[in-house]
Amino acid sequence: MPETPADFRYPLRWRLMDGIEALADRIWPRRLAPWTGWLLITPALLLVGLLVLGLIQIADSSLRTLDTATFLPSEDWSLANFEKALASRVYLTVAWRSLLGAALTTFLTLALAFPYAYALVRTRRPWVRKALLITLFLPFFIGQVVRAYGWLIILGNSGMVNEALSLVGVAPMRLLFNYPAVIFGMVQYMLPFAVLLMVPALAAIPAETETAAGSLGANWLRTTWHVVLPMAKPGLIGAGLVVATLSLTDFAVPAMLGGGSQDFIANAIYDQFFRTADQGLGSALALMLVAAGSVLVGLVFLVFGAGTLSMGGRR
């Protein structure tokens, strides 16, 4: 042991850590170590378990039709709710609108987020990086409702954009409560998520790899296409999955910027649960949404392999 003066004391942080370790050793002795991993994921497993319980409950009510006389769910099971949902033109339109919306949002968000994330990673000037980060997070801090309200102020019939247009003699246009407005709001909402998911993937690509591609004869476009995009694939797929699932199931943006005319699946489900109080039909729609999302994620994993999210394993 090294010689220490009599009044020597270890730093407070070390003593605290040692105390915590000693305590942990009491509560969870070393021979239980093989189970430590399981202990740590138990809370997460419990949460997922609760979700599964809820899903079973929903599955149960999706099989019971609403008795319009008593306003109670029927006793016996039938597939009537699913038949009704699948036969209805309204729900078909809503489903198509949601799927197309999710696809458009994903594509546009990735297309915008990639250059943003690239600039964030590659800029040499710290102040540029800071400015880009603040610009990215500012709308994030504001919250979805306030942000949507902001769009009402800016894009409304007598909003700022229309006032500016009238100055140059353009008649006021309806910029809100239509499909493009919803997609616009959705992309704006998803952008920070996508950028943050892509940044680690791009940061993992050494700048010298791009320089090398240049010296081998690739211009910037080909370097991006043949080197940067393939190497950033885990980040792109991760970001794409998150954006696609979030926008497929989004409720707030279609509700606020669509003004009731641009419902997505989540809005239809909301209506069944909280307006019409037809729990059965709502549950059937919810299950179909879960199925659509699962199929989407499953397809991505099937095509690209779970390994593409850089979770180890090559495929």
């Binding site: 050494p206 790899t209 240049g214 010296s215 081998l216 690739a218 080909r222 190497m231 694939k233």
Partner: protein
């Protein structure tokens, strides 16, 4: 391939400075010219500005001052992807998402070679770096040395006019490194491509190069052939960097160097007047010990303070009380491998032409 042997040098570096603004300049007043087809090695300790100079020649970085001409044209006159420069990076910079074949084919595809000729050419260059049959492997399925050879094949395959190598062998074990050094020399001669190689391995520099530049603190110390670099170093720094030298401090004398009142035989290696403070450099392999020392121009009594076993030879650390300093001596004699013990008193000597005397102000 340097098919067009023009009259002008392949590379001209003229008064080039690089100042990152972080203190001392990374490169200071570098000037040299390189004829087509030659193999130049830039040698220097870590941080001496070798990579910086190479990146400026590649055109990845503009010099703060000065000019760089590649084939008679300014280095930055051509867009990076249109230059005919093959570079092996210090960190290789291979494409991990592609196979070995795809990595080597990449420059050919980017340069729009006839797609029908690409596979044969890729195979030929993989054979050249002794990687035939590895084409379908992924990069992470190769050893470090194999990866370095892929990087070399990728830089050579489009037959650039200029090949820049940034310590391409640094990560290899000694045996493979020595094999690859000879390989480099063979390939370079075979293709006749003008090559600039960067290293801090003096042996590699001597083995592979037509000419060597020694750099220190961003400045070129000497630019000459390997033999010259070894035989007549321009200053004590070069003498210490190429081979193993011992140094003696003293005053210049008509015979050589006056150290601690002892007049040692030596030759001036620069403009130096008698009586000036001077520094003598003597190589470990030119310093004699025991019977071999008796016939030398300068013979002194020494005491062995330490010995180091280096396989085929020994290094003796010998204290010379008369000079108040010590020297290192290589002993290489298969008949009498280790004749002296630690602590033994031995004759130590050297011939006048082997003690090089520099003005003391030189580094």
């Amino acid at each position: 391939m340097a098919a067009v042997r023009s009259e002008q040098p392949a590379v001209v570096v003229q008064g080039v400075d690089m100042d990152f603004g972080t203190g001392a300049m990374a490169v200071k007043g570098a000037s040299f010219a390189l004829e087509p087809g030659r193999f130049l090695t830039i040698l220097g300790p870590s941080g001496s500005g070798k990579t910086t100079l190479l990146r400026m020649i590649a055109g990845f970085q503009a010099p703060t001052r000065g000019e760089i001409l590649i084939g008679g044209r300014p280095a930055d006159a051509v867009a990076p992807h249109r230059r005919s420069i093959g570079m092996v990076f210090q960190k290789l910079a291979l494409f991990p998402h592609m196979t070995v074949n795809a990595n080597v084919a990449f420059p050919l595809k980017m340069r729009r070679h006839d797609p029908r000729t690409i596979p044969a050419r890729v195979a030929r260059y993989l054979d050249l770096v002794r990687l035939g049959g590895y084409g379908n492997r992924r990069i992470h399925e190769l050893s470090g040395g194999q990866q370095q050879r892929v990087a070399i094949a990728r830089a050579l395959v489009f037959e650039p006019d200029l090949l820049l190598l940034d310590e391409p062998l640094a990560a290899l074990d000694r045996k493979l490194r020595e094999e690859m050094q000879l390989e480099f020399r063979r390939i370079q001669k075979e293709l006749g491509v003008t090559t600039i190689n960067v290293t801090h391995d003096q042996r590699e520099a001597l083995v592979v190069s037509d000419e060597i530049i020694v750099m220190d603190h961003g400045e070129i110390q000497q630019h000459t052939s390997p033999v010259d670099m070894y035989r007549s170093p321009a200053n004590p720094f070069v003498a210490s960097f190429i081979g193993v030298s011992s140094f003696l401090e003293g005053l210049s004398s008509p015979r050589g160097l006056m150290v601690n009142g002892v007049d040692c035989a030596g030759v001036a290696a620069g403009a130096i007047l008698p009586g000036m403070p001077a520094r003598g450099a003597i190589r470990a392999e030119q310093t004699r010990i025991g019977a071999a020392a008796e016939a030398c121009d300068t013979v002194l009594e020494g005491r062995i303070t330490d010995t180091i076993f280096e396989g085929e030879r020994l290094m003796y650390f010998v204290d010379l009380p008369a000079l108040g300093t010590g020297v290192r001596i290589y002993h290489h004699d298969p008949a009498e491998h280790a004749p002296f013990e630690k602590g033994a008193t031995v004759s130590t000597g050297w011939n006048a032409r082997d003690l090089l005397i520099f003005p003391a102000k030189d580094r």
